[in-house]
Symmetry: D2
Subunit: 136 residues, 4 copies
């Protein structure tokens, strides 16, 4: 992704990037794609009826990751309280989705990969949140 | 919108709709469109340079309203903690965006209408959050 | 929705609204919510395994309606070729999704309502496309 | 991104991935983030009034890339005509946005990077479209 390169050239950032936030943006876009893909792969499984909670959590998580990734991308003006709350909601969505996917990780390889992407995104959101306290 | 009609026919809902949540869904979709439109109208103003914070908040608010509206729409399985946190983030985004738009309401009619839509959506999110405590 | 009121106050529009395009925006947001809701209701049906094509088309249609509604909302600058192609894609997505939902309309009330919303949105996209030829 | 890994584990794909389509998904998510970032960076420039067409095209392109990336991700059931039309719309949006960004590439580094991301995404959409003719 071009997130680091792009944000580094923002007129208000001028190279002083918050790298934890940038990593979080990248994980959010990745997790959104992964969750969209996992919802779709679950839907294609013969045992789909047992995966409906997983599909639902995947879709919610994808929507939140997408919105969080877009909001965290913006550096013009400021909206710190909203970013914080979205990072918090995104952490929660990733944790819950990752736990559910983790339950089918032994049976469905897509759930194993998705659980991993969710955990990475959850952790990146936490680190981004910590980084906002220090600088922003 | 068809939100009430649609959710009323969901196999797990069977007519027992949470009307506060449905009103919230409708306000979220409305506010997403209104904020997208206000960001665009601000961008077209000759004094755009003084409206950049407003545009930024509009875009963040639109993204969050969109995600919240989609997530609140889903009734299969459950994801209550995530819905709560998104309603909370959406309330905050609407409050902050509505306050900023309110500052230009006298000069830009689109900001006046948008401030109103944000306030309605903020209130609908609050009522939806209260309603989830009681039933869900 | 506030689409008509908002676009009417855009500094470049000044009340000279394209009403076919505005109706199309409203139908796009409505259809996005309805398709999101239908995908979710189908997912909750005991016979979910027979509804996977319907769910998939619902999700694709919701994504396209959302993007088309946002793009058609913008009046600053111009992007006519892109709007045209998105209206075209949206018409196609609505037609195909509406046909699939129509097949289960007798059995699932949510599919009947969704088929209707898709048809209205398809028609509104067509009329918006015709209107762009004449003025824009 | 996990797109290749995820789609390779889809129950209907079973490792027989369409690599041109997967590359297209990755470019779409990347281009969506890059265009969101470029709109924001342009909004932060002192000469924002001269960049409003660029910002508008960036936002349209981001919306279409996001929708195209999600739709192209889905492998359950089929929706070939819609995928084709979205790839076509996405190519057009990327071409037009890339051309506009290219005009400011000498002055704004973020526009130079964004023009490059748009061109890559346009090309990936074209190759994905060609690949769908041959197999899908």
């Amino acid at each position: 992704m071009h997130a680091h390169e792009m944000i580094g050239t923002h007129p208000h950032v001028k190279g002083k990037t918050n790298d934890a936030l940038i990593r979080c943006i990248e994980e959010c876009f990745d997790c959104a794609q992964t969750c969209t893909s996992c919802a779709d792969a679950c839907l294609g499984e013969p045992m789909v009826a047992q995966l409906i909670q997983c599909i639902r959590l995947n879709m919610d998580c994808a929507d939140i990751c997408m919105a969080t990734g877009a909001i965290a991308t913006r550096r013009t003006g400021s909206n710190e309280e909203v970013i914080r709350q979205m990072l918090h909601a995104c952490m929660t969505a990733c944790r819950i989705c990752g736990e559910e996917c983790g339950r089918h990780a032994g049976m469905h390889e897509h759930c194993r990969i998705c659980a991993d992407a969710c955990r990475r995104c959850e952790q990146a959101c936490r680190q981004a949140m910590d980084s906002i306290g220090a600088r922003h």
